[in-house]
Each structure stands twice: as structure tokens, then as C-alpha cells.
């Protein structure tokens, strides 16, 4: 993680979203907001050094006027004045999410949660419901944007 401050255009941030499978995003952006475990936070260029874990949530970034959304499931963020690195176990861009599948998995998770069972099963169902809802939400953002 060399300090790439010199190569980043001024007023921009380099955002890198990395998952174990690949480098998902590597772009210069203007603004980022991310779901930290202890509260959502926003990052503008020149932010101080900051390291935090992430919870299941929505990552949002802006390039000029264009808004981008992603779902992020667990991970952490390393923020430096010119660069933000998000390491996530699972991350998906809004445009990659299949809305129908997301809806189906919400329904499935809700049903599993209702059925109950062992505490561990309920917990699992709760987490998958949270994940599914998030994916649905992120995907719908994109649709709304499309209509606007």
C-alpha cells in the first residue's frame, strides 16, 4: 500500500474495492460513504488516516454527478488522505445484482426466520435476511436512478 498521493489528481480520491476473488473497483472518485461497524461515515479527499471494520451495508460513491452504489458484506476500510481501500469478503455493484433473485432470497430468508428452530439457525436466517434485504435495496436504488 504505497502512498499513491502523488499520482491521484487533486480533489479526487482513489477508491479500491477488493474481494478475495478480484479487484472489483479501482477508480478516482469525489466522495464516498461507507457503513462502518460503529456508524456510517463519509470520506472526502484529504481525510485523516482511518481504519475501521465494516458491517453489512451499502457503499456509495460519487464520481462527478454520477452516483454509484454497492453492497458490501463484512470487511474493513483503510482510509488515507488520497486513497480508500475497502477489503470486503463479498461485494457487488448495484448493476450486477439480479433484482429478481434478490427478492426471491428475501422471501426465502423471511420464511426461514419465521419457521424458527435452533438459535444458530435463527441467527443464520437473520443474517441472510439482512444480506438479502441489502442487496434488494441496493439494486432498487439503481432502478430508481434509471427512472429519474
Amino acid at each position: 500500500m504505497a502512498d499513491t498521493g502523488t499520482t491521484v489528481p487533486s480533489g479526487k480520491l482513489l477508491l479500491e474495492v477488493v474481494t478475495p476473488d478480484k479487484l472489483l473497483v479501482s477508480e478516482y472518485v469525489d466522495q464516498i460513504s461507507a457503513p462502518g461497524t460503529e456508524g456510517d461515515f463519509g470520506v472526502l479527499p484529504g481525510h485523516c488516516h482511518f481504519l475501521t471494520t465494516l458491517r453489512i451495508g451499502e457503499l456509495h460513491y460519487r464520481i462527478g454527478e454520477a452516483e454509484h452504489y454497492m453492497s458490501v458484506l463484512w470487511g474493513f476500510a483503510d482510509v488515507t488522505p488520497h486513497k480508500v481501500t475497502i477489503l470486503a469478503e463479498i461485494a457487488e455493484k448495484a448493476e450486477d445484482i439480479d433484482v429478481e433473485r434478490a427478492q426471491a432470497s428475501v422471501a426465502q430468508a423471511e420464511e426461514r426466520l419465521e419457521r424458527g428452530g435452533l438459535p444458530s439457525e435463527v441467527e443464520e436466517a437473520r443474517v441472510s435476511l439482512e444480506k438479502a434485504r441489502l442487496r434488494q435495496k441496493v439494486a432498487e436504488r439503481l432502478q430508481k436512478q434509471g427512472h429519474a
Binding site: 500500500m1 479500491e16 477488493v18 478480484k22 462502518g36 482511518f50 481504519l51 475501521t52
Partner: protein, 291 residues
């Protein structure tokens, strides 16, 4: 002397074998390409994570975390990474020989050794032997994903924290090049590699760093993650090495089959000619006798 028919059969059978080995070689080559790509694309994550963890470990006191602390205990676990399928040359034999040697050596030093195995071949091997198998993960290489590494990492860290073993080594085939695989033994727990690498690089000149939650808690979540990524890396390396080994082995097999076909064909033709010559001699001899 074998009959002509049996020679013809033999040639046909070797030809069939050659077709199969050729196909297997091609499949292995395609899979190898994919495995190599996966290694490459998993690198950014591993590197970034290592940097962050290293950076954190420098700040938080080293003894603070159980995964970093050396223990006095004499219980050693060896994680053996083999393949699920055979026909890949000496791939599994090399690993298992090295593993057996390692176990013997450490047992002789009075350590209590246990084994955990990934890959069906290794499971079969150790089941027939006297070493205690603590855990096995057969059949994960067909659809290898990060989740396998998560599972594996979670189990191992849990056992480590419970004191089932005090140190963990891994033995696996490192993918050096298509022609070369190297058996490597690495110590994974307690995590030591951070220190060595950290000293090579000047510490990042950073003043205030904000941590949320605090350093210790972050380290608490990041170190297991780091370990899981290491496990993933080892699995990917081994998967690529397996395909490379299979490709080389099948290439050799195809060539050997070719040689065998040539030899048997030559022998077949010689035998056939000899038979024809003999028949001619008989006819000539018969005609001669009638005169």
C-alpha cells in the same frame, strides 16, 4: 510369438489410452490457466490485508494477541494439502513423503503431533496410517472457493485457541512454474511472518491514525481474516500446482504411448512379413516337389 491379432489389439488399446491421456492433458492445461488466473486475482486482497495487518501489529503491542504469541506447548499440528484426484505424477507422493518425514521427526522430538488433511488423496493415505487425523476436508478442489478457506480457517483458529495444538505447520506444493512444483513446509501459527517482512520495509511515516473500534479489537478481527487468506492462498497454489503436475504427467504419458505404438507396430509388421515369407516358401517348396 504373439499372434497377429493380439498385436493388432494391443496397438488399438494403446492408441485409445493415448487419446485419453491427450485429452486429460488438454483439460489440465485449461484448468491450469484458470487456476493461475485465480492466484493472480486473489493477490490484491492478500497484499492489502497483509499491509493493513502488519501496520496494525506494529502499533498494537505484539504480545496482545493470542495468534501472534508463541506458546511453550509441545503439540504440533500439520496441515497437509493434497489433491482429490490422482494421475498427476508424483504430486501427492512428494507431499505425503515430506509430511510423513515431518511427523516422524517431530514425534521423535517428543512433540505430540496431529494431522489435518485437505484433499481426498491425503485422507486416504492417513487413514491407513497410525497418525491421529484431527480434521479432514476431502473433495474441496472441484469447486474451490474462498468459503472453503473460511471454513478451514475458522476451524483451525478455533482449535488453536482451545489449545488443541500449539503450533501449526502446512505442507503443500508451491506452484513455481508449469514444469516445476516445490514441496514447501511453512509455519502458519503462531503468525510470525509479519515481523520478518515488516523489518524489511521502513515503517510508514504516519502520525495520527484513527481506529474504530480500537486497535486491539481490530486486530482481533483482522488476524483471523489474515490467516484465512493465507489458507486460501495455499489452497490456490496447490490447485494450480496439481493441474501443472497433471499436465506434465499426461504429456509424458502421451509421449510414452506414442513410443510404445511405434515399437509394437514395427514388431507387428515384422511378424506379418515373416508370416508371408514363410507362406511363400511353403508354396514354392510345394511347387518344387511336384516337378
Amino acid at each position: 510369438m504373439p499372434s497377429l491379432q493380439s498385436l493388432r489389439r494391443k496397438i488399438a488399446s494403446v492408441k485409445n489410452t493415448q487419446k485419453i491421456t491427450k485429452a486429460m492433458k488438454m483439460v489440465a492445461a485449461a484448468k491450469l490457466k484458470r487456476a493461475q488466473d485465480r492466484i493472480l486475482s486473489s493477490r490484491p486482497y492478500a497484499h492489502q490485508l497483509r499491509d493493513v495487518v502488519r501496520h496494525l501489529a506494529e502499533r498494537a503491542s505484539r504480545l496482545a494477541h493470542p495468534l501472534l504469541r508463541k506458546r511453550e506447548g509441545q503439540k504440533t499440528e500439520l496441515l497437509v494439502i493434497t489433491s482429490d484426484r490422482g494421475l498427476c505424477g508424483a504430486f501427492n507422493a512428494n507431499i505425503l513423503r515430506q509430511a510423513a518425514e515431518f511427523l516422524k521427526e517431530h514425534a521423535e522430538q517428543g512433540e505430540q503431533v496431529s494431522v489435518s488433511v485437505a484433499g481426498r488423496k491425503g485422507c486416504d493415505f492417513f487413514r491407513r496410517r497410525t497418525w491421529t487425523i484431527r480434521q479432514e476436508w476431502p473433495g474441496i478442489f472441484d469447486r474451490l472457493s474462498f468459503e472453503h478457506a473460511l471454513d478451514m480457517g475458522q476451524d483451525i483458529i478455533q482449535q488453536y485457541n482451545d489449545g488443541t495444538f500449539d503450533q501449526l505447520y502446512v505442507v503443500y506444493n508451491e506452484f513455481k512454474s508449469v514444469m516445476q512444483q516445490r514441496v514447501v513446509v511453512e509455519k502458519l501459527l503462531p503468525i510470525e511472518s509479519l515481523e520478518e517482512e515488516a523489518s524489511q520495509e521502513p515503517a510508514r511515516a504516519v502520525g495520527a491514525y484513527l481506529f474504530e473500534p480500537d486497535e486491539h479489537e481490530l486486530l482481533q478481527t483482522l488476524l483471523p481474516k489474515h490467516f484465512q487468506v493465507q489458507a486460501f492462498r495455499v489452497l490456490l497454489e496447490s490447485a494450480a500446482a496439481e493441474q501443472a503436475a497433471r499436465m506434465t504427467a499426461m504429456d509424458g504419458a502421451t509421449r510414452n504411448a506414442g513410443e510404445l505404438i511405434q515399437k509394437v507396430t514395427l514388431f507387428y509388421n515384422k511378424t506379418r512379413q515373416a508370416a508371408i515369407t514363410k507362406e511363400l516358401m511353403d508354396i514354392v517348396g510345394g511347387a518344387e516337389a511336384l516337378k
